[in-house]
């Protein structure tokens, strides 16, 4: 498995698949029993390479007797940042994660979400080349999650590589350029978001004569009918007007034409050999424009 530089890389897998273990191997927190790997061109566990890496652990705690500012100061020191930069780095981190007003409070008074925000600030100190985030939004409220998405977008714009380990598939779907799926310690798939969404199609809500869609197949991809909705999976974009025209010509009344695509969750479950809640892995769903953000229309295949 390779994580390209400058990308936001999602690392997915069921519980116990080995995601956190993989992260610990990358950081030298665990020793591999076999195999090899490298981080930023250095062997796994290389102490010097860790100067260029930021890390937010999944389960962690900071020194409760320290303030948020002191924790960040300690990590500036541990990360070997020049002392002259500490003030700016700490200020930037506090602002970035929304903790500027609680900077001088002891971390033992922080909620889990605030601890997670502080952890993110710690991980971003010194503008690391690689940021490894293990479940960064698990304790955050919706506002906090949105902040993290914004933060990840900023990191990508900055050219920082982000290795995102998360159970929240919708989060991954929204922010990642590429994902890998791991199961029982093995990577079972690695694909870009473009590949993930390549199997696109359209969903057309059509009423009128029952036979309006009969005989429409082959040239329009895999066509199937579910209630008032007709799905054409894998249809070329250029063929969509022709399909609509054909339906109209047969007396069909078109109410909606919506792009569909397979969700990350559906792909994830199919890769792990588990059946999705409804529909098949290629069931698709109407896409409301923003990848992963749309909700299916009434009668949508995936509900």
């Amino acid at each position: 498995m390779t994580v390209p530089r400058g990308e936001v890389f999602g690392f997915l897998g069921p519980n116990g698949a080995g995601k956190t273990t993989s992260v610990k191997l990358l950081l030298g927190l665990s020793a591999p029993t076999s195999g090899s790997g490298s981080v930023l061109g250095a062997p796994l566990g290389d102490v010097a390479a860790r100067r260029r890496v930021g890390y937010l652990p999944e389960l962690f705690r900071y020194q409760g007797w320290m303030t948020a500012r002191e924790v960040l100061g300690l990590h500036c020191e541990l990360a070997r940042l020049p002392r002259a930069d500490w003030g700016r780095e700490i200020g930037d981190a506090l602002r970035l994660v929304g903790l500027a007003e609680r900077a001088d409070d002891r971390t033992q008074t922080f909620s889990k979400g605030m601890q997670q925000r502080l952890g993110l600030g710690v991980a971003l100190l010194g503008r690391p080349e690689l940021v490894i985030l293990d479940e960064p939004t698990s304790a955050l409220d919706p506002v906090g999650r949105q902040d993290v998405r914004r933060l990840l977008a900023e990191l990508r714009d900055r050219g920082t590589t982000v290795f995102l380990n998360s159970h929240l598939l919708t989060e991954v779907e929204r922010v990642c350029d590429r994902v890998a799926v791991v199961d029982r310690g093995r990577v079972v798939a690695q694909l870009s978001m473009a590949e993930l969404t390549a199997d696109r199609g359209v969903g057309i809500r059509v009423t009128g004569p029952a036979d309006a869609s009969e005989g429409i197949d082959g040239r329009y991809g895999r066509v199937r009918r579910e209630g008032e909705w007709l799905y054409a999976d894998g249809i070329a974009d250029a063929d969509v007007p022709a399909l609509v025209a054909a339906l109209v010509a047969r007396g069909g009344e078109i109410h909606a034409v919506i792009p569909t695509r397979q969700t990350l969750e559906e792909r994830f479950l199919s890769l792990l050999g588990a059946a999705p809640d409804s529909g098949g892995p290629d069931a698709g769903r109407p896409d409301a424009g923003e990848p992963g953000a749309g909700s299916p229309p009434a009668g949508g295949a995936t509900g």
Binding site: K24, L27, G28, L29, S30, A31, V47, A48, R50, R51, V53, Y55, P57, L59, F60, R61, Y62, Q63, W65, M66, L74, H75, E77, L78, A79, R80, G119, V122
Partner: protein, 286 residues
């Protein structure tokens, strides 16, 4: 930055924690209290004693050794209670995950923790030890054989126990590690006592038991050194009615100045134990 720089970062962090968690202030407060009580108690002994001269000095010397033993016990417990939770809980609650993801090695964390705690402990042992001795001298005018050496021996004894508890904390829970260290301290003291009796009565079995105990956990070697440093002079012993210093070694308050070889073994033991601790921590799953 060198590995020593990493050790210093962790040592400073440990010192800040000791100050912030009020460990240092508690020790300072206790020292003031104990020194004041020592001065008061020895003043009273000197005042109410029905005897004077060497016999009184002999009595004062024995109370002083007993006081030193209690102080060594307090130091040993402080070392164990401070070191037992120094590593394990930081692993269990994920605190070390964030630290070790930085350019710092596990051995640096262990040595930094040791250095920070050792600094607090040694400073406490020396300051409190000398102040207590000073209080006794002021209250009674009595001076043992070698008062300067006693506090360093007690400080070194506490370092042995600090090291033992810290090594345990790399692998086992704070409670279990602390309990084992305390029991080890007690057994080492008993083995040393048995060895002393073996020396006095020329019993090879007891002598061997004492030697084995001192090899396994050399805390008693250093206690013996402190006790020897507080031994009354031959004049006091003679004046106190004892035939000779030879007989004094039968007393439970007597001690034996450790040889250079035993002192070297104490240093080797601490270094070796830290090496074992480093290996245990390096091979532990985080």
């Amino acid at each position: 930055m060198s590995s020593f720089g990493s050790i210093l970062i962790v040592a400073r962090l440990t010192l800040r924690e000791a100050i912030r968690r009020r460990l240092l202030w508690a020790l300072v407060g206790l020292t003031v209290l104990i020194v004041a009580l020592t001065w008061w108690a020895f003043s009273r002994i000197a005042e109410v004693s029905p005897v004077r001269g060497s016999i009184q000095e002999l009595g004062v010397s024995q109370v002083l050794v007993m006081l030193a033993f209690m102080f060594s016990f307090v130091l040993a417990m402080t070392a164990v209670f401070a070191a037992s939770p120094a590593i394990g809980p930081d692993i269990e609650n994920g605190l070390l995950l964030a630290v070790l993801a930085r350019p710092i090695r596990r051995i640096d964390v262990l040595l930094g923790r040791w250095l920070g705690l050792a600094s607090v402990l040694v400073a406490y042992a020396l300051v409190a030890g000398y102040l207590e001795l000073g209080a006794v001298v002021v209250a009674t005018g009595y001076l043992p054989t070698d008062p300067i050496l006693a506090p360093p021996y007690l400080a070194a004894e506490s370092l042995v126990l600090l090291t033992l508890a810290l090594v345990f904390s790399t692998r086992i829970s704070s409670v279990a590690g602390g309990a084992i260290a305390v029991v080890g301290y007690g057994l080492a003291w008993m083995a040393g006592f048995a060895g002393g009796i073996g020396e006095a009565f020329h019993s090879d079995v007891l002598r061997t038991a004492g030697t084995i105990g001192r090899i396994v956990l050399p805390s008693n070697v250093l206690w013996q050194g402190a006790a020897a440093a507080l031994t009354p002079s031959a004049d006091v012993l003679g004046g106190g009615g004892l035939a000779s210093p030879e007989l004094y070694k039968f007393s439970p308050f007597s001690g034996v100045s450790p040889s250079i070889e035993w002192l070297a073994w104490c240093a080797i033991w601490i270094v070796g134990a830290l090496a074992v601790g480093a290996w245990l921590l390096r091979t532990r799953e985080l």
